[in-house]
Amino acid sequence: MRQPLDTFSTTLPPDKRASVYQSTKATHEKRTKLLFDHFADPNRLRELAGEIKQHTLEHLDTYLPAVEAKLQSNGVQVHWASTADDANAAVLKIMRARGATKIVKSKTMVSEEIHLEAYLKKHGIESLETDLGEFIVQIDHDHPSHIVRPIIHKNRREIAQSFEREGLGVYNDDPQTITRRARAFLREKYLAADVGLTGGNFISVESGRLVLVTNEGNSRFCLAATKCHIALVGIEKLVPRDRDLGLLLNLLARSATAQQLTVYTEFITGPKSPTQPDGPEEMHVIFVDNGRTDVLATECRDILRCIRCGACLNVCPVYRQASGHAYRSVYPGPVGAVLSPLLAGKKFPELADLPKASSLCGACNEVCPVNIPIPDLLLRLRDKGKREHAPLASAATPPMGSFATLATHPTVWKTALTAGKLLNVLPTTLLPVPPLRAWEKNRTLPKWRGGEFRNWMKSRPDVRRKNAQNAQKS
């Protein structure tokens, strides 16, 4: 059985593959240059940020009640949602209490996780994405394929067709025209909306400041035009102190889009100031679990450090070839290969192939601004998949049973090493291992030199001396 991700990637049109490849590569290269040009020791920054986030995760038992108290004393209403259903219901309850029917939404990954739009629609509430990419995803009934660049898989012609279909003007595929049309359409929507819904990039436990970053200014417009702010925030988004934001913000934009800072970085402590004419008079924070506490209980909890920058997607040789939809979940790329199967809970077996979709090259770990050991976590999940006998965990895995016998019996192993010399004279069609035969079709095996290393090792003077000493002792 082939890996589902491989099957998907063969269906990807070549022009899309090329555009995903080129834009992720370019962003990755700019990111690396910027970090190393700007800082004396960027890797130290990543390690520190990782320790801060790991510390936070391991102290959520005290930090969560502490931030709740802080938010409440700042005048924010705090809600808790164990499940996706709870989170959706909490949003609806706030809407109903205000008699509100229209939401303008700034990009939030949590809302994708809980399928908020479909839920609200069913209950007669219009929610509109305002991030340009997410807006296009919404009108196309599509799914984002990158955490930071949701429509990395679309070209301007497709977008122009969608705009024409939605009555946003006659076909015009100039990116500037597309953007201006969205600007005109969406500002009417902001001004007519009742509630602005956002996610949260960070919340400081110390001050209760909710930090939101965008480049387009859409979250700011949501919070300038509406009278009520709802923030959907994963319970892992806390940071202990305001000063820690100085580190994380320095890493986030550089890692995500190779910018020093995103254009808009907003620190929100509560409803608007009484002297301010614009903005929410009411603010709600909904803390969402939706599987996170399960992840916290596993040896893969480090993945909850993630600050959703997308750097691991941009550098990943698998993501670059397969694009985001191949991961069949909200979070694509290396982070998704760990997080999605874990968040799936009981449905883990359906995504058990994702941890295998990696060559374990380790690039994702090297670029991660919070230094998540993604390759280690992938290995742990491969192990989990095997132990739970998830069929997808074995997709495209060669049978390793005979190798295990070989490798655990020294005499058999030694014989095999010598016998392997036959490969040098026999035709390769007689290779005993089918995957090796397939591999050999396009490549040439190096000459078999089985046993030579053992002989060389044995003949080293230091090894001979040690062996002699050991023989004397016994």
Binding site: I52, Q72, A81, L132, L261
Partner: protein, 212 residues
């Protein structure tokens, strides 16, 4: 005053989440300590902190496609050259700056939401700026209208020399007790369509800073 703010709301989700968090963390043999870190780690290579931060701020602002304006005179010629003749102006700034404006430029000190696109520019007071990043800092208590600083194509934030912070850590250390602070680093932008940079998505396509 919210008398019962300190008493946590009892909800089943809340209790469930907190008890699951406790259960998840209980088996850990040790917990990662909170590292101390020095702000010098995020200092840019070769950075200097001159006494007057306007010049480095203006240079960084230009590099993020923003427009520094060194005096009210520079503002007037900027507006005239760009044919920006109708705008929103913070009432307090209006009192101090109105005398510089020629009669061809109309300033409104109130923002009418129903005709938001009639304002070609918004002129509001900043809380401060960050030299290292070319960032303008706005806050609810100093910015007379969030919309006035966002909806018009051009936004001009007025600030004094002594309001400029050298870098991100110093700006964070000085975050005021204000319900809403926003750092603005250049014009609103996107690269969602084929990675092509377009400015002026929802907010200003032209972001300027005026030195008072």
């Amino acid at each position: 005053m919210r008398l019962f703010a300190a008493i946590p709301k009892m909800s089943s989700s809340r209790d469930q989440i907190l008890s699951r968090v406790r259960d998840a963390l209980a088996p850990l043999p040790s917990r990662t300590p909170l590292p101390e870190w020095d702000a010098s780690l995020v200092r840019l290579r070769n950075s200097t902190t001159p006494a007057d931060l306007w010049a480095p701020f203006a240079e960084r602002l230009r590099s993020v496609n923003g427009t520094p304006l060194a005096s009210p005179l520079a503002l007037i010629s900027f507006l005239t050259e760009n044919n920006l003749l109708r705008g929103y102006c913070d009432p307090a700034l209006h009192a101090s700056l109105a005398s510089h404006f020629p009669p061809t430029i109309t300033l409104s000190t109130e923002l009418d939401r129903s005709r938001i696109d009639d304002y070609q520019f918004g002129l509001t007071a900043a809380f401060g700026a960050i030299a290292e990043t070319g960032t303008i800092i706005l806050s609810d208590n100093t910015t007379s209208s969030r919309l006035g600083a966002l909806a018009p194509w051009v936004h001009i934030a007025a600030l004094r020399r002594d309001q400029i912070f050298p870098d991100i850590p110093s700006a964070i250390a000085a975050l005021p007790a204000d319900p809403n602070i926003i750092w603005v680093t250049g014009p609103s932008k996107t690269a969602d369509v084929e990675g092509i940079l377009i400015e002026g998505v929802h907010g200003p396509g032209l972001q300027a800073a005026l030195l008072l």
